[in-house]
Symmetry: C3
Subunit: 206 residues, 3 copies
Amino acid sequence: MHPRLTLALAIMEALAILAYAISGFIEARTKRLDAVGTFLVAMATAFGGGTVRDVLLDRRPFYWVEHQWYAVLIFVLSFFAPFVLKAYTRVFNERVLLVADAVGLGLFSISGTSLALDARMPWFVASMMGVATGVFGGIIRDVICNEVPLILRDSRPYATCALVGCWVYLLLDYINFDTVYSVLIATGFILVARLVTFKLDVRLPH
Amino acid sequence: MHPRLTLALAIMEALAILAYAISGFIEARTKRLDAVGTFLVAMATAFGGGTVRDVLLDRRPFYWVEHQWYAVLIFVLSFFAPFVLKAYTRVFNERVLLVADAVGLGLFSISGTSLALDARMPWFVASMMGVATGVFGGIIRDVICNEVPLILRDSRPYATCALVGCWVYLLLDYINFDTVYSVLIATGFILVARLVTFKLDVRLPH
Amino acid sequence: MHPRLTLALAIMEALAILAYAISGFIEARTKRLDAVGTFLVAMATAFGGGTVRDVLLDRRPFYWVEHQWYAVLIFVLSFFAPFVLKAYTRVFNERVLLVADAVGLGLFSISGTSLALDARMPWFVASMMGVATGVFGGIIRDVICNEVPLILRDSRPYATCALVGCWVYLLLDYINFDTVYSVLIATGFILVARLVTFKLDVRLPH
């Protein structure tokens, strides 16, 4: 891969992990958890989806084991979570979190689908594994915090965008399209689909 | 195995999976989940028990990976869950679900025990793995939907029937009784025990 | 290891497992679970932490599979949980449970860290695995019983004591201190830290 593309992907990945962790901080704040509880919830949000996928695929090592400095960073931030959130809301607005979260949804879902295909999963299962990578972190966060998971209640398409994007990726893979471009297109599709449906306030029937 | 028996078992299995999925649809309906949330809850109910068992036993592939068309079917049904439930309640009554669920409890518990024995688990652990196969789907469903799991609250014997049936199976296995008949007898035992104790309104102390 | 030390460790371990199981009985009682529900919650509390760690590390067999008589014992006690709790509260007071639980927190956290190091986990991850071994049982208990996990709400340091103790162990391991003494010192550190901070009513910010 082109080195500048590699760098761009690494930066997007770091942003996405932080966005997921911050959504953990926000939930932990509303439940008044202490620093260690905040750390646990933020870690579960950021890495829970990929860890569930890896346990199901029997893959090791986990991402947060190979990149333990993310865990150390989230640990340190957890002790300053109130300040992190205050500084964050002063500098950024809600849209930044929405976009960073959508980037994460795209990246995590497509990388999850790709890893599941490498593990020779059938196509529908591979797309489920992709969506699980993107959304299970949030589900675990909400289950620990004793809430019905947000993505199951909110009728705005979230998992649905990820699922359709995974199918786009499967289609591109099926016609042997270049892998790097397939990842970029499918990730971009999820990002755009999430932002557009959110903006237009599209609702799923329920 | 006799081909007609194989067919009968496959039909019972399909009925049981659908019964578990429908109990997921019902729970998802009361929580007003959208289609994707309904799919997730139905999948967790139908395959969660076997998946937990397989993770504990370090077995792969999972049943729903080998038979992905069940996942596709439940996915499609999830989008029509309100109609599925309406059509279902028009054609069948509550007893059909009760019986199909009891068939599932029997089949899943005994197959779980059998797989655990194959993996050289000690006897008590094997019976625990069997019960887990039968009941963990419902527990995951209720945890996701933010309820105290029904089977832990309801004092009517459910897991208890499964556990005693697993012990019947272990006993038959211990005396080297024919495997096919052992499965049928123990599964039938659980089915009958569940229906009889339910009918007689037997209650466990708590 | 000196045989008397081995015996002492085995006794402490049995006490700790029982203390964890009893905290499961207490929670099950408040939720009015039946005997099988009580068994499940007690097992999850006693062995959930180690099982999660072993799944993450891909280790088999689980402790409760190798020592199934603990499971049989907890199963039998579950049927008499009201009597067990009544007899228990007549003979012991709350402090005994507090101390036994703190012994468990120390033993489980340090053994978890040690196993994670054996599996070549990096240091921060090893300490996280240690803490997870000590605290995930209680988290699973509370999630099943539909509560926000106690250790995330209670601002008295619990996981924090375990974490610092794991770091003490990592430090002693790093300077190649004798393994047996390292385990004893770090376990003792967690025990004392938990009891002292509890007594002095130290609170974490939240």
